[in-house]
């Protein structure tokens, strides 16, 4: 089997690689997250250019048909890439949520400091700063942390249903 039988396959892969490179050049995707896929596609192109290599490797690994070997490897690598994407997406989600929460809390604090009105949400036209921060406005985190550390949670309280 020669390259002439698989050139369409190699061409398709090359087109996908080309599209990905174009996205990279336009900074629509990052190299960090697309590098693994790029290498994978280059590997697929290599198998199309050198089909004899795929046949030999398949036989070495006990596959009767080279196509079975090819698809098994293909599916395996795609699954790995997908799991990697799930991990990256989950991390990204956790970071986005944490940042959104921080943004909301900081905006609320800024609004209170700027406007002097504790109940006022941040408006696009923020009032001029200048309000003094009083001791009452400062958080008393230490007291709560001390209380948190001092409570023994393993005993059951009386007078209520407890699990």
């Amino acid at each position: 089997m020669g390259f002439e039988r698989y050139w369409i396959f190699a061409a398709c892969c090359a087109i996908v690689v080309g599209l990905l490179l174009r996205l990279l050049l336009r900074e629509r995707v990052s190299l960090q997250h697309s590098l693994a896929f790029l290498l994978f596609m280059l590997g697929v192109v290599t198998t199309a250019v050198f089909p004899g290599l795929t046949s030999r490797l398949g036989r070495l690994m006990g596959f009767t048909l080279p196509s079975n070997f090819f698809f098994a490897i293909l599916i395996g690598v795609l699954v790995l890439l997908h799991v990697g994407t799930i991990i990256a997406l989950s991390r990204l989600e956790a970071r986005t949520i944490a940042l959104t929460q921080e943004l909301g809390l900081v905006q609320e604090q800024m609004s209170r400091l700027a406007g002097g009105d504790r109940r006022r949400p941040l408006q696009p036209e923020a009032p001029p700063p200048g309000s003094a921060v009083t001791d009452a406005d400062k958080p008393d985190v230490g007291a709560t942390r001390a209380a948190a550390a001092g409570v023994d949670g393993d005993a059951a309280p009386a007078g209520a249903s407890v699990t």
């Binding site: 949400p121 941040l122 985190v141 948190a148 309280p157 009386a158």
Partner: protein
């Protein structure tokens, strides 16, 4: 005692105003320093303005995070500003503020519980009891929580809760984002927190609609069941620190 009442709200402009008013009135009635904070979870209506006009502090999240992300925002605020405890009251008006006293009274026990859950399925079973389908789902969750996580809860989906200092310390760090109530019970149990239930009377929602409906119910049951199981397995492999 400084209590932060967290009201997660998404497009609740019709119910959030009276709710904040009732919360503040309840604080005066009980003689407790109660601060109401409305977590506006990316509302497109006037929820934030109505809440601010009613006298609440308002944290506006620029994007919708869902109930878990909104509640955790309030818990982080309570933890950072040194509140004695925090109470979660849903913005749809299902949790009447006049029942707040029952949750706070549970803190009087020695030692104080870390997490107090208001249950609508108390002994006398008054008020809103939810639909038949939801009660079947709730039964399943009760079973999963009891068998897998060792948590005996009559109302695992109740969002009417009081978080003590240790619960604040725990959930400030980690809180489930998606359908958090049953999973947070399992997390609390895994961390060695005490969970206490107090019968409360709930109402049907004043406005808005539930986020759990139709096909989402099946997803909800599956997701929560797996999450509770994972929480248990996680606690075996890497136990939570007992003292925080």
């Amino acid at each position: 005692m400084r209590v932060l009442v967290i009201v997660p709200a998404l497009n609740e402009e019709r119910s959030v105003g009276p709710l904040v008013g009732d919360i503040r009135a309840e604080g005066v009635k009980l003689g407790i320093d109660i601060t109401a904070v409305v977590i506006d979870d990316g509302s497109t209506d006037r929820t934030a303005e109505v809440a601010a006009a009613a006298g609440a502090r308002v944290v506006q999240l620029p994007k919708n995070l869902g109930i878990g992300g909104a509640v955790q925002t309030g818990l982080r605020l309570a933890w950072r500003e040194g509140f004695s405890c925090a109470v979660q009251i849903d913005g749809d008006g299902q949790h009447p503020p006049h029942e707040l006293g029952k949750l706070l009274a549970a803190l009087g026990a020695v030692p104080a519980p870390d997490l107090v859950v208001g249950t609508r399925y108390g002994n006398d079973r008054q008020g809103f009891q939810s639909t038949v389908l939801r009660r079947i789902g709730s039964s399943w969750l009760r079973w999963v929580l009891r068998v897998v996580a060792g948590v005996t809860s009559t109302d695992p989906t109740s969002g009417y809760r009081l978080y003590g200092p240790r619960a604040l310390a725990l959930f400030e760090r980690t809180y489930p984002y998606d359908y958090p109530e049953p999973e947070s019970l399992a997390t609390a149990r895994a961390a060695g927190l005490t969970i206490c239930e107090v019968p409360v009377i709930m109402r049907p929602r004043l406005a808005g609609s539930s986020s759990i409906r139709s096909w989402r119910t099946a997803y909800y049951m599956l997701k929560v069941s797996i999450a509770v199981t994972l929480c248990y397995v996680r606690s075996i492999r890497r136990p939570w620190p007992k003292a925080m």
